[in-house]
């Protein structure tokens, strides 16, 4: 915040106004009180209120994460069910082999490979940025323009790949385990249709643990988005955070970390509530076990 030519007195004065001379516990108390009111101070680098910066960048990250989570959940579940049921098929083997790649390749390598392939060689998708965005007043969205939609494809696929492969393997393992259980065997013995056994009896049970994992993973997606946003120059919070790290812009970093922690807690809370609706064993605990 200060230049080379700033005098020592001016430096001392700035320290005083920023409250850097107070003892640590007073600084911390002040931070907590302000943070609880959504006030994170002023960015050292950009000289603007941090909360304003976060709100500005939030839509970009949220749109990216939501799209990635949808891709990961939908395709992960579908492919997982497929490989769980057709255990020995040729296609299953290929899906599993590719999913191994997804687990083991780091996000930035995949991102750079995608940019090279789709932006540089084929030239069909943009390699960076959000494209044109429409400002709705409280929210800026890229969903309403073609260039915005095109821009989100590469980053969201890159970001979702790791979670998707994870979900494939989880759903596959769950399906295989459940298809071995007694109640599936009993359903077969009653002559229930194979389709119903797989998609009604087995899948419903198999999705219960997936919801837990998926909830935690959405949090992880936001965290991972730092790397993806950097690779694709995506103007979201992760990108903001990386820039803040380079300039030791502590107000932005602390605000970002508090925000991530808040999102994690909220998601886990929502997942716990969801359990109540999905699993009858939890729902009716109060009045059960009679007769």
């Amino acid at each position: 915040m200060v230049g080379e030519e700033t005098s020592d007195e001016e430096r001392a004065e700035l320290r005083e106004t920023l409250g850097l001379m107070d003892p640590i516990h007073i600084q911390f108390t002040r931070f907590v009180i302000n943070a609880s009111q959504g006030e994170f101070g002023i960015s050292y680098q950009l000289r603007r209120p941090v909360s304003e910066l976060i709100v500005e960048r939030l839509p970009a990250t949220i749109e990216l994460v939501v799209i990635s989570a949808l891709i990961a959940l939908v395709s992960g579940t579908l492919l997982g069910v497929y490989t769980g049921i057709n255990r020995k098929g040729f296609l299953s083997d290929i899906i599993l082999a590719v999913s191994l790649l997804g687990v083991s390749l780091p996000t930035f390598v995949i991102g750079i490979l995608f940019i090279y392939l789709f932006a540089v060689i084929l030239g069909i998708l943009p390699s960076f940025g959000r494209g044109e965005v429409v400002d709705l007043g409280f929210w800026t969205t890229g969903f309403l323009t073609i260039s915005g939609l095109k821009a989100i494809i590469l980053p969201s696929v890159t970001l979702s790949l790791f979670q998707m492969t994870y979900i494939i393997r989880l759903v596959r393992a769950e399906m295989m385990e459940i298809l071995q259980t007694d109640y599936i065997k009993f359903a077969r013995a009653r002559g229930i249709d194979e389709k119903s056994i797989k998609y009604k009896h087995a899948l419903k049970n198999g999705l219960i643990p997936v919801i837990t994992i998926a909830g935690i993973n959405i949090g992880t997606l936001i965290a991972f988005s730092i790397i993806t946003e950097t690779v694709f120059q995506w103007p979201g919070m992760g990108f903001l955070f990386i820039q803040a790290v380079q300039f030791v812009d502590i107000p932005i970093m602390s605000a970002y970390l508090v925000f991530i922690a808040f999102v994690f807690v909220m998601i886990n809370f929502i997942v716990d509530i969801l359990y109540y609706f999905i699993d009858p064993r939890i729902r009716v605990k109060g009045d059960s076990a009679s007769g």
């Binding site: 009993f186 013995a189 009653r190 002559g191 064993r281 076990a289």
Partner: protein, 560 residues
């Protein structure tokens, strides 16, 4: 003309190197209105036959030959056609009602789906049919319970639901695979009565697969005995049980603990064990044999244990008393039995005596010292050495990563750290031979042994510290009946030679009668009565004991 004819049915498992037969050329016939028992020990192929009838064999097994004729339909013509007979012509009931029902569908949904798969009924008609069926199998408030999930039913009620599911499309053949093995004796008798009633009312042909000779004797009209995939003998139940022709059947029948008298040893008709008398107790020469004084070795006084005292609600209203004010004594040198159904608190008492649980209130005296009040660890060790435990499940009670040698060394070294290596080795060998295992066993891992052999290792481990009291918590419940007979014989011999005192916990009344001198009957954490074994079985005092004895499946009932 029989209703069901199984001709030369074979099931094999294609392994990488060889083909294993799970069933070989089995011929069985069942008439309508008749219950056929299919009996055998684990691995005999009895469940395989049951599953093979509807072609429900898990990979890599398959039905490799033979035919199944139902009425005049050959249902094994091709593997696709069999599917339409499942549930429709043939109903199947599995062993464990806890796992047979889909936990996230209501029982109504499961019933309606099954009915609509086979019968052309509207949802409303299917529901009416289901409710009537639930009433028929003895579920009260059927209309209300129709929308309940499986976990809202108790074990016995769930098995009734399972039966209603198996019967909802009016099959003519019912296959019940160990339908009562996971249930308590009082529920078992209700379920068996229900199956008998339905057999008569609906003129069903029933195959009842079980390992329990008492159930066979009380329920079935004819019985088929299987061993290692082969059919040994088929005949009228009474003939087979009273006058078996084949050696295997003879040994199976003689291994069953009689309910009406006490025998000194089980007769074992087995080639390996000809002399049938254990006189090779090698640890005797190093055993500090104690004279049996006439005294109470263990005194349990007003023992209570509740499992609900957690941090926030110390004495909440809905706390469950697992053990409620129980007092009894175990005399030195005797075998004291504790019997009761599941949840009666018998295992909890055992764990408090060996000091794995702390009681909520009450005391236990061992050799006139109160062991529940000992605070010092070194003091407690003296008693731990004298009290050892044998657990129910021989598969999970041995550390699978340790060699047998190391498993047995552990307790020896703990109480005698200075023992020399050569002495340790010979002690381990002596222990192993005392439980009829050879010296080579010492260098092997637990998974290389069968269930019965593992239980012998458990016994050797328990004996390693030269205990005075042996606590056996259902030591033979996981074992086949012939193995059970061997283990019980071994325990009897060891007790006689080593002057052991045994606390024997079991739900199996015939076994308890053979093993115990005195018996305590537990119900819901309370002790109903404590008395001598013979008095208990001949003239039970408490109503609950009478009830238990009446419901116990008796192999002798065949003579009535």
């Amino acid at each position: 003309m029989s209703f069901l004819k199984i001709n030369n049915l074979s099931v094999d498992y294609q392994m990488r190197k060889e083909t294993v037969y799970a069933a070989k050329n089995v011929n069985i016939e069942v008439n309508k209105g008749e219950i056929l028992g299919l009996v055998g020990e684990s691995g005999s192929g009895k469940s395989t036959v049951g599953n093979a009838i509807i072609n429900l064999i898990d990979e890599p097994g398959k039905v490799s030959g033979g035919s199944v004729v139902l009425g005049d339909l050959n249902i094994h013509e091709n593997s696709e056609s069999i599917v339409k007979y499942r549930g429709n012509k043939i109903g199947l009931i599995f062993q464990d009602p806890q796992t047979s029902l889909n936990p996230i569908l209501t029982i109504g949904e499961q019933l309606i789906e099954t009915i609509q798969t086979h019968l052309k009924l509207s949802k409303e008609e299917a529901k009416n049919k289901s409710v009537n069926l639930l009433k028929e199998v003895g579920i009260k408030d059927a209309e209300k319970r129709f929308d309940n999930y499986p976990h809202q039913f108790s074990g016995g009620m769930r098995q009734r639901v399972v039966i209603s599911l198996a019967l909802c499309c009016e099959p003519e053949l019912l296959i019940a695979d160990e339908p009562t093995t996971a249930l308590d004796v009082s529920i078992q008798s209700q379920i068996l009565e229900l199956i008998k009633k339905l057999t008569k009312e609906r003129n069903l042909a029933v195959i009842l697969i079980t390992h329990d000779m008492g159930v066979i004797a009380e329920t079935t009209d004819r019985v088929a005995v299987m061993k290692s995939g082969d059919l040994v003998e088929v005949g009228i139940t009474k003939d087979i049980l009273t006058n078996p022709q084949k050696n295997y059947t003879k040994s199976l029948v003689s291994s069953v603990p009689p309910t009406n008298k006490k025998i000194s040893r089980f007769v074992i008709i087995d080639n390996e064990n000809k002399d049938n008398k254990l006189n090779n107790i090698k640890i005797l020469n190093r055993w500090q044999k104690r004279e049996i004084k006439i005294q109470d070795l263990v005194q349990v006084k007003n023992l209570s244990k509740s499992f609900d005292d957690n941090f926030f609600s110390e004495s909440s209203k809905n706390s469950v008393m697992a053990v409620n004010d129980v007092s009894f004594e175990i005399k030195e040198g005797e075998t004291f039995g504790l019997v009761g159904e599941s949840g009666s608190g018998k295992s909890t008492i055992a764990k408090i005596i060996v000091n794995l649980f702390k009681p909520s209130s009450g005391d236990i005296f061992f050799d006139e010292v109160c062991i529940t009040k000992i605070k010092q660890k070194s003091e407690l060790m003296k008693f731990r050495k004298q009290i050892q435990m044998i657990f129910q499940d021989p598969y999970s009670s041995l550390n699978s990563r340790l060699k047998v040698k190391d498993i047995i060394t552990e307790p020896i070294k703990l109480h005698n750290p200075n023992i020399s290596n050569s002495d340790l080795n010979s002690y381990i060998f002596d222990l192993l031979e005392s439980v009829e295992l050879n010296q080579k066993s010492a260098d092997r891992y637990p998974h290389e042994f069968s269930g019965g052999q593992r239980q012998r290792i458990s016994i050797a481990r328990a004996l390693a510290t030269q205990p005075r009291l042996l606590v056996c918590d259902e030591p033979t419940s996981a074992l086949d009946v012939s193995i059970q007979a061997q283990i019980l014989n071994l325990l009897k011999d060891l007790q006689e030679q080593l002057n052991l005192t045994i606390l024997f916990i079991s739900h199996d009344l015939p076994v308890v009668r053979q093993m115990c001198d005195r018996i305590g009957v537990l119900k819901d954490g309370k002790l109903c009565e404590v008395t001598n074994t013979e008095v208990l079985f001949v003239k039970p005092h408490h109503e609950y004991t009478k009830e238990l004895l009446r419901l116990m499946p008796k192999i002798e009932s065949i003579y009535e």
